[in-house]
């Protein structure tokens, strides 16, 4: 394994690991705040229990997200010093803002987790709201920095040096809005459906369980609207790619030749040597229609770039297909659940819907990973699209396979522990049938008067 490949692998593993916790850290606080708000409005203690259990999960996920995010901020310099030397002054701004957003998130999460009996209820709810807001903000800032790598603006390149640097123009790069929107919606959809899927599974066994019924409802309130909006945001992203990152779109769609009325290629295996995609279904003019909203539009193919500037086409194509397929499934399930709820159905007794939601549980997170592979692998061989090659920004330090393997082992170990802890916490969900009425946190059943 070459040092470059080891560095890319370490960065990839670090991002793939961190993104799960980052995404959960954005959406879990929303769910716990919704549950706490329901508790304050209804006085129904089951919501308080829900908020406390979700905040416990959030504490674990946030802590691992915070430390793995620290690793990434250092790895920018440990693995890609030349990239940071070039990009730091241009794109450090959103990272600095992210620092503040993250700071706010950490402060108020501490207040939320440990302040249940130390501050007034409204202040506590507000602290949770600040956690949710600042979590989303820090995600947006980081994605803006990544978007700049895809669509670099805010500087001029003179003999390999950046001059006339304008950090604000760099933040306002054309990829920023589509990427930030797509990522934020993905966080809510993936986390919402993962949580909904867990409670749907438990409802299949025990449909009368009051705890899981409410958990399912809150999780769907957070996840379903995002899943429905996601295809619209995806369309925005695709149109952005067609204009600003044509090679990435061509790789994602396995479009080898530039052409008018380009077809949409579903599935298939891109054969890079023969420049054709085998076993695929082509929808005539589909890609032109999606990318430019015009069936006759010319879409640039991979042939628009020299061969040595192509990304790994099969990987990008497959990841893209996977992301779109999973995202579409989530959107359909969200519409189905929304329609059933609107017709007044009891979702907890709709066994087919519950099964579909169980199936959706891992899909959002897999789609998030696949989407990141599209955007990161699709930009290769560039680290800053069209400006700096990944190979030119790697550290001269030899033996990079050692830190790669070390961090991979560390993350496998941590991931297994987190899964085990969350699994055990879920196993201990309260078993409270709806007909026993209101109950106290901890599993006892009481009259309403005690719960207030």
């Amino acid at each position: 394994m070459s040092d470059l490949l080891a560095a890319r692998s370490q960065m990839g593993v670090s991002l793939a690991f961190h993104i799960i916790f980052a995404v959960a850290g954005i959406a879990m606080p929303v769910m716990m705040v919704v549950a706490e708000h329901r508790w304050q409005v209804t006085g129904h203690a089951i919501y308080l229990d829900l908020a406390k259990r979700w905040s416990k999960g959030t504490a674990i996920l946030f802590a691992v997200g915070a430390v793995s995010g620290t690793v990434l901020s250092f790895e920018l310099g440990l693995l890609w010093p030349e990239f940071m030397r070039f990009a730091g002054p241009i794109i450090g701004m959103p990272f600095s803002l992210e620092g503040f957003a993250f700071f706010t998130e950490a402060i108020f999460l501490g207040i939320y987790l440990y302040g249940w009996d130390r501050i007034p209820p409204r202040a506590h709810l507000a602290a949770g709201g600040i956690v949710a807001l600042s979590g989303a903000a820090s995600g947006v800032f980081v994605v803006i920095a990544n978007a700049w790598m895809n669509a670099p603006t805010g500087f001029e390149l003179v003999q390999g040096q950046a001059v006339n640097v304008d950090p604000l123009a760099a933040m306002a790069n054309p990829a920023a809005l589509p990427q930030a929107l797509h990522m934020t919606l993905a966080a809510y959809a993936a986390t919402g459906f993962a949580v909904a899927g867990i409670h749907a599974l438990l409802l299949l066994k025990d449909p009368a369980n009051a705890f899981h019924r409410r958990a399912l409802a809150v999780a769907l309130i957070v996840g379903a609207p995002a899943a429905v909006l996601q295809p619209i945001s995806g369309d925005l992203s695709a149109r952005h790619l067609a204009r600003h990152q044509p090679v990435k779109l061509a790789a994602a769609e396995a479009l080898f030749q530039t052409q008018a009325g380009a077809p949409l290629t579903l599935g298939g295996w891109p054969d890079v040597d023969r420049r054709e995609t085998r076993f695929a279904i082509d929808i005539p003019a589909g890609l032109s229609l999606l990318a430019f909203h015009d069936p006759g539009a010319v879409v640039k193919g991979l042939d628009a770039a020299p061969r040595d500037e192509w990304p790994n086409v099969p990987a990008v194509h497959l990841a893209f297909q996977l992301m779109v397929a999973l995202g579409s499934y989530l959107a359909l399930i969200a519409l189905w659940a929304g329609w059933r709820a609107w017709r007044g159905a009891d979702l907890a007794h709709d066994r087919w819907l519950l099964r579909a939601i169980v199936l959706a549980a891992p899909m959002g997170f897999i789609a998030v990973e696949a989407g990141w592979m599209v955007t990161e692998l699709g930009r290769q061989p560039w680290v800053i699209y069209g400006v700096l090659k990944t190979a030119d920004s790697v550290t001269p330090m030899p033996g990079l396979i050692v830190p790669f393997l070390t961090f991979t082992l560390l993350y496998c170990f941590l991931g297994a522990i987190v899964v085990w802890l969350l699994y055990r916490q879920i196993l201990r969900s309260p078993e409270i049938p709806e007909w026993r009425g209101f109950y106290m946190p901890g599993g006892g059943s009481r009259e309403r008067g005690d719960a207030a």
């Binding site: 915070a66 310099g77 010093p81 030397r85 701004m93 550290t395 830190p403």
Partner: protein, 342 residues
Amino acid sequence: MSLADLLAVVIFATLNAYAVLAGADFGGGVWALLAGGPRKQRQGELIAHAIGPVWEANHVWLILAIVLLFTGFPAAFARLGIVLHIPLSLVLIGIVLRGSAFTFWRYGGDTDAEQRHWGVTFAVASLITPVLLGVTVGAIASGAVSGPRAPGPAFFTGYVAPWLTPFALSVGVFALVAFAFLAAVYLTLQEDFRRRALGAGVALFGAALLVLALSGVGAGAPRVRAGLIFAPWAAPLHLLAGVAAVVALAALWRRRYGAARIAAACQVSLILWGWGLSQYPYILPPDLTVAGAAAPAVTLRLVLGALALGAVVLLPSLYYLFRVFKSRTPVAPPTMPPARPR
């Protein structure tokens, strides 16, 4: 003072906050490892209780310092990443293990054996991380983080020798003792920690002498040594740090814990600023200056503006955090009946 100097001061202040706040969280882990005697259980609980609500916020000071460094001084950040790749990677592993083990300890511990396992992981990571942080500081201060490196220098001379020196290791020990001292002083809610604080305070003198002695041995840290001894500001600084140290120990002795905490934090801060002043105008001695590593002025202006805006949000939030958790009485009546034991 130039914009670059101003940003360097801010970054240094951020590191200072990290040292006196997060440093104490690491120190708490050290005391958890050394917990013993009849009140061992109670000591562990006090440490966990003190760290729990604040460690994540305290940790962010380091992230803030890093992002400000790579925004404002990208050349310094790039060079640090190359030359100190190994100790910084080890610091990261320590940070990851410390943070996650603490959380698993507090939230996941089910059986006693499991609790102990995470408690020990947390404590050992708390012990090793400060040493490695100190080693990186020592390597910087000694002027070994020099560049540029020709591609493919011998592995040992290029990537190990700069930080594996007696001086850098002594700074690592100093950092560990300083963090343990701070933690013990903050934890003096319990008599056990008063004695530990007094012991650590004395040990800190010893560690400081060791650092000073080794700064003259071999390559040492000539610049820092010269600054700390001969610069015009050296004598007053040493005097102030010495006064703070004596006040801290005397206050501990007299059980004036409020004064002891302030004096101990001042003492560690003054030592840090002594390091910073002694190597100015170099950000990475012997050749990279603050001005030479700085980003374009437009970036510096924007970042300083963002810092001013961010401080408006941050400082009241931090004040609220510490007021809620570090005051002896709850600031508001409890909102709900205490959770029943599960």
